[in-house]
Amino acid sequence: MTVAALPTRKDEAFRYADLAALAGVWPVAREEITIAAGVSQALSVVLEGGGAIARHLIITLEAGASYDLRVLNAEASFGRLAIDARLGEGAQFTLGAAQLGAGAQVLEIVTEVTHLAPGASSRQVIRSVLAGESTGTYLGKVAVARGAGGTDSEQSVRAMLLDRTATANAKPELEIYADDVKCAHGCAVGELDAGALFYLASRGLPPGEAKKLMLQAFIAEAFTGAPEEERLQALALDRLGALV
């Protein structure tokens, strides 16, 4: 097997990546995960360590399988998680991810979720909080194969910029070759509401605490219902404390 060449900026899936940092960890191993028919599993991925990290998960869900994947991407100078998920008949895939960046961090989640057979559902919730000159990217393609009727997919992508110097990129993308499918997607980039911050401050909360409280609420949905919800929320809260 030949080692793939380092991607360039022209490669859509790497358009916003830190290519210099990527070169240090290239090639990226493909981590195969297969969930057998009818089985339910969950995984939390916390990208740890301050250097460059790139991972690529290939997830295959057989008929009726379900997989709950949660991601916290907050520590790496360049943190990239690529996820290819292939859904069999009636499979269920959940992705909840938070990306929390500051300084010059470059954080990205790149997904390609393919509904191969009828009746599968996928739900992706991505929340990014970006301070300083950090960059947070979500590139997410949902593909519905011919014959995969009854597909139900949702992408909810939101980013909060704490400084005008931070950057959020978001590209939800749909490729549908079947009838009778439901594919919802929403995308928003915003700033913390000044009126709400004043309201909280007027009750005695210092500005940092007020921001932290609002950001905690902003990212909460990414981890809601996860088996490790409490641990992930606590880790994220620690990191938010450093961002505000």
């Binding site: 509401d193 000044a194 009126g195 709400a196 004043f198 309201y199 909280l200 401050a201 007027s202 009750r203 005695g204 909360l205 210092p206 500005p207 605490e209 007020a210 409280l213 609002m214 905690q216 609420a217 902003f218 909460a220 949905e221």
Partner: protein, 249 residues
Amino acid sequence: MSAMLKINNLSATVAEKPILKGLSLSINAGEIHAIMGPNGAGKSTLGYVLGGRPGYEVTGGSVEFNGDDLLALAPHERAALGLFLGFQYPVEIPGVSFVQFLRESANAQRGARGEAPLSGGEFLKLAREKAALLKMDMEMLKRPVNVGFSGGEKKRAEMVQMGILDPRLAILDETDSGLDIDALRIVGDGINAIMRRPDKAVLLITHYQRLLDYVKPDFVHVLADGRIVKTGGPELAHQLEEQGYEAVA
């Protein structure tokens, strides 16, 4: 006796437009004052300037609160000194529960004053007591801040917050708007129960006489074009209601 709140010749602009134009007012502990005035007179601006809202720029004058220079302090520091601002339009904050936010706020204030924090149990007991005072279901306080609340529920929730935070001075901006007759009485009773004490004071900002039937003011001021143009007793509010601002002020 020195005043609790001493506003001296205060001027302020919003988006560079002068709104307050040399406003002076003194409030002593134990007193309830009402400020009435036509739309656009600067009533809400006064509340926001005293609360320290960004975008409301003080261009002249001074404000002392128990001897401290209020205008030099950040909003949360003003709260820790015992200032409470009741909002005309309380803000909805999805995802943040009242209970969590109020406990953190109360403990931030206590910390700033060198007091020990309230435990979860102590806080809930206090919250339950104040919710009952305002006839508010405690379950509502477990919900996100003001989200899905009716206008009247928001105003009652403001008063529950005031009860929990136990301020020395409450500035209540049109707390009576959006209330039906029963809610008006509950809110009025709540203000009296929480704030009518010798060591506390209230500044009620209102358009109408009706709240003043429940919360009897010691002084009524008329605010017009950024200044206090007339001061009197409770009878002034009745006179305004009957004759209108133009005739009286």
